[in-house]
Symmetry: C2
Subunit: 418 residues, 2 copies
């Protein structure tokens, strides 16, 4: 069987299962999610054994230590995956949720009701916990799922997907609803993202390279996720203590995630008061600073920023810093370099806050809070499948309702159009 | 300037205008829409003169009479376009509409608010009224628009777009918000659908060929519209008189539109009672029938249906007819051939109605009413930009809210993540 035929067969099987899963009641889905969580715990040894193979290959291939850490599964991490499934089971089922409706003058009754998207393709890298998270969220929202994980995590993903599939089907999830592509051939990605006949949406989760390749080549609708060049703008009217706390948190608390700050913009009128202590705090925390010439004047440890720096998602303890003449320069900089994820202004000025929130085009626009809050759990939405940085369909954290479409149900008594 | 550079320049200008248009208040947008309507009426002669050039070329090129009719502009049709703009002015502005929100435990206040998509690319064929409709809907929803019309209507579209742009800008719409691609080079389409930097979504309006080409080649997100292989299923428990009225209306009232019926499915137990009179009514109305062998037994005028017929959107007075053994065969047929637009069951059986609405995967699923009602105006949504047949973002009629995205506005008092 060719790679294309292999992917097609899996996608078609998912499509067939999706029709049944769409009408599977929440009770069965929840029972299945709990059984899947139990199965993960019961078979933790088996999963860790599979993970050991990936870990050994990773070491032999000289994988970076931070990447190895992402790949590693421990009993605690498996327990975390199980807990995630239990949390998804506890969330309300979005399917069947009535989100609108009316009775027309001619007596037709219209109900707008949430339905699953159908088949969701997930293309992801490295972390094996995505396998469990994605399966849980897709099943709960009534969607079949086709998973294509990274080759580094193949054995771990296969084990997790296998355990979950067996438990899900035993609990009444339609056979075929979980499809795992068990080949490392890159052509499987190309096939999956062009499988319009059977796949309704593709969500890439991973680095900028993966996401760009999917967007450039997919014919199936794509939801872009997770690319975050996030800014914090310290306004002239900022409370400097608050600004330092927010800017420190946004950069340092967890620099590897997409809602961490990559560039700090500082109004020139507040720079003298704000900057020295701020830079000191960053350097003490091991942050490397790349600054504009004005920033460099504050501290000799500041390295010069290049044009490329402003557009870079570092994902580590590096930070670009620019001093701006006014809020308009900050807005223009953000409009040019933002990936439309999360942006923040720190200010006590009502009009500056209002202008910033009006004018910044991003999924989440903050006044006086760390960008680190852009997250499904923090927003009270429950587990998320990713954070959309595009404007179509869903923007920002995507949880269960964001994995649905809707349809109009119309009931009449013989109405015809005149 | 190359074709790519030309399209890029227009898309970039639209992108710049979009940032201003996003914060242009409804009052200015509405004033502009009314001024645009007046300008159309005031310059009707100029527009008709331009249209005459297209009409003359169409005649010389031997364009089909029905296509010529779609292309033709008359004072009445221009008045209709003006009325459409006035109606859009009267609709509520979706921008700024608060669609969710909450206060988190840590005191962060989150507001989910509608924002424009940004820049919408419209690629369309033939009818010049689309130019006015699309401009009106995009501007009202705060979006800049890049229009690429068909070459047959170039002079008409240029005139309409020119009149509207002048009136819009005079009334305060940001310069550049309306972009019309005034070259017939097909490469402009290719450039527009790959302009991810400046274009947020592309909506193709036209035949299946155009839509397929856009979906296959776009890297910009696409909303598929308007392809409609719609079915009416006459159930065993149908009221035959009602079924005949609905099926006749769905096929005959306006066969050229996407919500007209293309295939009628009839339960075998009701065929004897239902079919003879139904076929007679169709033949009297000039409908050609392509039927399964069982259907052919009812009337010698029924021609044999091919596999291709079941998948064809005729768009005229042709109809495919199949007799099915039960509702499951009807559902399977619909699942195989439906374009997920509008589907109908005629029945008095509660369980059949419920099953049909649960199981059919389409934008609009009817019980006992003509599929012809799937339409933004009929649904009470106001003017529509098209009917989405995909599941991402918007499904079914797309009016003003469907031309928006949203963003989360978060206000805090110094919250940082622990």
């Amino acid at each position: 069987m060719s790679t294309f035929e292999l992917v097609r067969a899996k996608a078609e099987a998912a499509h067939k299962a999706a029709a049944k899963l769409a009408v599977t009641p929440a009770g069965i889905k929840n029972k299945a999610l709990l059984a899947m969580a139990e199965a993960l715990l019961a078979k933790a040894d088996y999963i860790i054994e599979a993970n050991n193979k990936d870990m050994q290959a990773a070491k032999e291939n000289g994988m970076r230590e931070s990447m190895q850490d992402r790949l590693r599964l421990t009993p605690e991490r498996i327990a975390g995956m199980a807990e995630g499934l239990q949390q998804v089971a506890a969330l309300p089922d979005p399917v069947g949720n009535v989100i609108g409706g009316q009775t027309l003058a001619n007596g037709l009754k219209i109900t707008k009701v949430r339905v699953p998207l159908g088949v969701i393709g997930i293309i992801y890298e490295a972390r094996p916990n995505v396998t469990a998270d994605a399966i849980g969220l897709c099943l709960k929202s009534g969607n079949a799922v086709v998973l294509k994980g990274g080759s580094e995590a193949m054995q771990s993903n296969l084990a997790v997907a296998g355990v979950l599939t067996e438990a899900a089907e035993a609990a009444g999830i339609p056979q075929g609803a979980i499809q795992f592509i068990d080949t490392t051939d890159r052509a499987t990605v190309t096939a999956l993202i062009k499988m319009n006949e059977f796949v309704d949406v593709v969500i890439p989760r991973g680095g900028a390279g993966l996401i760009k390749a999917v967007v450039q080549n997919a014919t199936v609708p794509v939801i872009e996720t997770g690319s975050g060049v996030c800014h914090t703008y310290v306004d002239a009217a900022a409370d400097c203590d608050m600004a330092r706390k927010i800017a420190f948190n946004a950069k340092v608390q967890r620099p590897s995630v997409c809602n961490a700050m990559e560039t700090m913009l500082v109004h020139k009128d507040v720079a003298g008061k704000f900057m020295p202590q701020m830079l000191d705090e960053y350097f003490k925390a091991g942050v490397q600073i790349f600054g504009c010439p004005e920033t460099q004047k504050f501290d000799e440890r500041v390295q010069p920023a290049t044009d490329e720096d402003w557009a870079t998602e570092y994902g580590d303890l590096r930070l670009s810093v620019k001093i701006v003449a006014d809020i308009d320069e900050a807005l223009a900089h953000i409009a040019k370099y933002s990936t439309k994820h999360s942006e923040c202004i720190v200010t006590e000025d009502y009009n500056a806050a209002r202008k910033f929130q009006d004018c910044v085009d991003a999924a989440a626009v903050y006044v006086n809070a760390s960008t680190r809050f852009t997250d499904g759990f923090e927003f009270g939405m429950g587990a998320e499948i990713g954070i959309s940085t595009q404007k179509l369909h869903a923007r920002g954290p995507m949880a269960l309702p964001e994995l649905t479409s809707y349809k109009y149900l119309i009931t009449g008594s013989g109405q015809i159009r005149g």
